[in-house]
Symmetry: C2
């Protein structure tokens, strides 16, 4: 039974009418008239690894467990699903405790923080780069017709982004099917939630495509590669380092995708151009500029 | 002597042709044709406070000293300009050392990190909220005609955002004049650079307006208030907590500004609607969706 009749592929998709995720607020418009708009909620969530407090993340609060799992995994603090013994969320305290079978001691790591361009407090930058050393991404085939279909479906999926603004979306896809659409006020929360979902569901990453509304930065590329996903796509632009890392790890990196136009700066050998690009049907996409 | 003949108000404005800030990279387009595009650089910058390594920020690298000063100030690690004895940047090591007259010891604070929605590793969340306790923002008058003029000028200012995509801009303004336009790959770097500029130049904040291309989140609002700027404007959307904080500290918060439309969710008492909104001239702005 699909969760959305209109978009039957989704396993998880945004619920714009989820009452806990946004709120009506009142103000005035340019004419001085009273105006009510829906704005997205933003709340702190404190993530613990065993008994150690790791970080407080600001999040829309829809998937605290996936966020915690994905965050810790992307920081290199979890080796994998096997290592996790429990994940407990306390809605009153707004905390998630992830417990592992192995012992952990991250006090030293927590001393060295990297503030990346992409909203990730606590990224132990050196560890992420190290984590990439052993990464090999699968050959995989990526049809451009899939990318166009994905962009079209994702742009038309009702989301908090469309309703209330102010948030980023990252969607785990397979071929031309969007499967898991995560949103959050920071684009790195959204990608961490996808990582957490992959971990919790013990799903395959090698045959997936990651689509994001956000910029293609070094951190986005690293996280995608660490998840084992070989393709990352965005309608937004790139940074040079993101491109270099993608080239190094063999990730297919497609950006500035609007309508049928795109630029691929890494891993273009995976691309199969099977769509007819002479039909210039720019879908009614949210052209977010750059 | 203005730095830009076409936009004479600017004291600091982007230099899209600044060769160190972006780079041509080659790939392929949707037709499989070779394509060269300009992409923005992203580099690590390690910030020290006295002898203590605080954080490594990913930045485009144009104003390392302002970034360091502003970051530390917004974290509550600097009391003000008077406290700073020197700021040294080492271009080879990509480090900035900010030295203060008073002693500092932030090892404890560094243990508690907040990952916010807005890209700020190392935000000591509790400290920021505490820092807001004593904040009173000035009455100030904000004419809507200024806001429209600012948006128009800022949208037309050549910037890395327009050229190479992938970055956020934050502009310190006075009335209808944009003065200091900072960009970076993360929106919180851009606002920290503005804070650093205000500190280094010992400029008045009370008569300024802060304009940003990014989302109005709790962290953006807190930093604006901590800088003493009473007005924050964006073409993007809000989060609920950002609005609550703005209401608490008495900040004027204007968002979703496109053409002549906007929504003000806090501090509307400062607004003076002096523009004729019957003329629906949507400027050729970068409508970034939400």
């Amino acid at each position: 039974m699909p969760i959305r009749d209109d978009f039957p592929d989704y396993l998880l998709a945004p619920d714009p009418r989820g009452s806990a995720l946004s709120r009506a607020m009142s103000g005035i418009d340019q004419n001085g008239q009273a105006k009510n708009i829906n704005v997205v909620e933003e709340r702190p969530l404190t993530i613990f690894l065993n008994s150690q407090e790791i970080v407080t993340a600001m999040t829309i609060g829809d998937y605290p467990k996936y966020l915690a799992l994905g965050f810790l995994y992307n920081q290199g603090m979890l080796s994998g699903a096997d290592d996790v013994s429990s994940v407990q969320y306390d809605d009153e305290l707004k905390t998630v405790v992830v417990r592992t079978k192995s012992q952990t001691d991250y006090e030293e790591k927590l001393k060295k923080k990297t503030r990346t361009s992409g909203c990730a407090v606590g990224t132990v930058f050196g560890d992420m780069m190290d984590g990439l050393q052993g990464v090999t991404l699968p050959a995989a085939e990526v049809r451009t017709s899939w990318l166009y279909a994905l962009a079209d479906k994702i742009n038309r999926t009702p989301s908090l982004y469309l309703e209330a603004g102010a948030i980023h979306g990252t969607v785990l896809c397979q071929q031309d099917r969007p499967l898991v659409y995560m949103e959050d006020v920071g684009r790195h929360n959204a990608v961490d939630k996808v990582a957490g979902w992959l971990l919790a569901e013990q799903a395959t990453a090698a045959d997936k495509i990651l689509y994001t509304t956000g910029r293609l930065t070094s951190e986005m590329v690293m996280k995608t590669a660490l998840m084992g996903i070989p393709v990352l796509v965005s309608r937004s632009g790139f940074t040079a380092w993101a491109v270099e890392i993608a080239q190094d790890v063999g990730l297919t990196l497609v950006g500035r995708m609007r309508g049928q136009r795109f630029v691929c700066l890494a891993g273009h050998e995976r691309l199969i151009r099977d769509a007819d690009v002479s039909i210039s049907t720019d879908s009614a996409s949210l052209d977010s500029g750059r």
